[in-house]
Symmetry: C2
Subunit: 352 residues, 2 copies
Amino acid sequence: MKRDLTIALDAMGGDNAPGIVIRGAELARVRYPDAKFLLFGDQMQLNPLLKSKPELASVSSVRHTADFVSGDEKPTVALRKGRKSSMQLAVNAIRDGEAQCIVSAGNTGALMAISKVTLRMLPGINRPAICALCPTEIGDSAMLDLGANIECDPDNLLQFGVLGAAYVRTVLGIEKPTVGLLNVGEEEVKGGDVVKKAAILLREPNLPFDFKGFVEGDDIGKGTVNVFVVDGFTGNLMLKSIEGTVKLYTEYLRWAFGSTLFSKVAGFLAKGAFKRLKARIDPRSYNGATFLGLNGIVVKSHGSADGFGFANAVGVGADMVKNGLNKIITKEIASYTEQRSKMSEAAKTDVL
Amino acid sequence: MKRDLTIALDAMGGDNAPGIVIRGAELARVRYPDAKFLLFGDQMQLNPLLKSKPELASVSSVRHTADFVSGDEKPTVALRKGRKSSMQLAVNAIRDGEAQCIVSAGNTGALMAISKVTLRMLPGINRPAICALCPTEIGDSAMLDLGANIECDPDNLLQFGVLGAAYVRTVLGIEKPTVGLLNVGEEEVKGGDVVKKAAILLREPNLPFDFKGFVEGDDIGKGTVNVFVVDGFTGNLMLKSIEGTVKLYTEYLRWAFGSTLFSKVAGFLAKGAFKRLKARIDPRSYNGATFLGLNGIVVKSHGSADGFGFANAVGVGADMVKNGLNKIITKEIASYTEQRSKMSEAAKTDVL
């Protein structure tokens, strides 16, 4: 069955909107020739940009609004005052069935608040999580939560496991994903109460993944598991320190090759190697974090993304639509919930 | 005034003990010609190793014990059963004034437990923190806690600020260090209750550092502040994901330069650049985490350190002894405590 693929874009979100949104959509159109775009934003700015891209224009509709959510707006303010913001209208398009996913490079907190209120959770999920892929020695792994939930309880962490596993199954095609719970050590005695209790839940039988127990911070680079589960406070700080380390290393590399004339020449000869390296660590290739657990597909692009990066974020959304991610998650959560209530019924019978 | 510098070494701690301990001590002896060493461990193994290093042997005494703490021993077991372990005896040497610092590459949890019970806290400090230096774009910064305290309250985080500031002042010679509190965003509304309350405490006047508010994960690479304060759960996961990222990047670099014959040749010509790079990112140069807040100087080396790495850990301890770190911390905590009680007295008077 061919699925509709209409993508709602918050054309006014991000540091370089709407320019990068249009450039990103044009690049995504080439990769997804059956995609249509709904662009929410200021038509005075959008129409001239579309004029120079007739092929994109032919598969796009502009929905005019002058309002937008600024980068430093508090989520609560964005929710209350921004009823006609490009972000809110773009999310409405998912709720109303006009589009199958929405991509925004705008304010993360506002996008999460608007999405939660407008789309609600999938049945059986208490809180959405921000999930992204990260490169490892042996392929990509998913990591969540990256900042939606500062504090998490064991049930949240269990649900993140289910969400992350469904995500890598659909997006990376891994049949039975492995899941690890990030902690300060691998031994069962390590960590606080929340991770210990979460580990017990994650070990329950019949979950749609293979739980590998506790994993540590350096397991991410090694790709020890397909899904790394962590609370949003720690996950956000880890993700950003990984990004910072990549920048620092690149800086050092530039310095090492720029120190002497000889190494400059060597660096010039190594242009091919550097190009390969760049392609592999380019953060733009990893742009596009997903809000998992919502009743609708929401993708957040980095605020500073360029067109290439934004196109990758659009691709993340398009792939999830094509693979029917949310149907899979709903099915898995339902089957797990049923399993659990059967188990607790059985436990009651045993007692009697 | 010339200070005594006797260093107690847990000669049996670490993956490659006692060989790397002896090699590390020999390297450290060259850098600290006035240092003396107390080696705790199995004389049957230590004496032959020392025989081949007569200069080290001339400034070392071996204190024989056959017991040692294994890498996977629970801290409580190490404490209870390990009264004669090389680790416990080496820590005792600090308590008894026989040595000014102790270095171990053994089990971190056991070393922390033994150190806390044997040495106790400095006055005014509730909990010790693990602190290490990390490289940044503009020099080194300190980060703590790296795993001693899974859960922290606002007072702990404030004390980590005081401890970290005293550390960089003595070890890096920074007169008025800047301190940042790691959080998921820079705005005051971000984060949970603990970091918000800690930020209020850290903003109090007359603290011996300049508090810069919240900082994010990528600020570490940038070196935005001299001291990064964080709870031990998050700090440990961040540190290890930074280490993992450095390894992953190095792996990618090797791959990029090994992909074609041409890039192999370029890589050969770039040997000098790679050497400079390696010197800058070598984790061995950053070996040696300090347990701050204890009434005694305790340094933990990576368990897998080689002689060069272990010598650096010895250097961390030696520098702290030479600079009288714990006296500075005690003075600063006392002055801050006095300040605070005056403030609360004044507040009472105001109310009356």
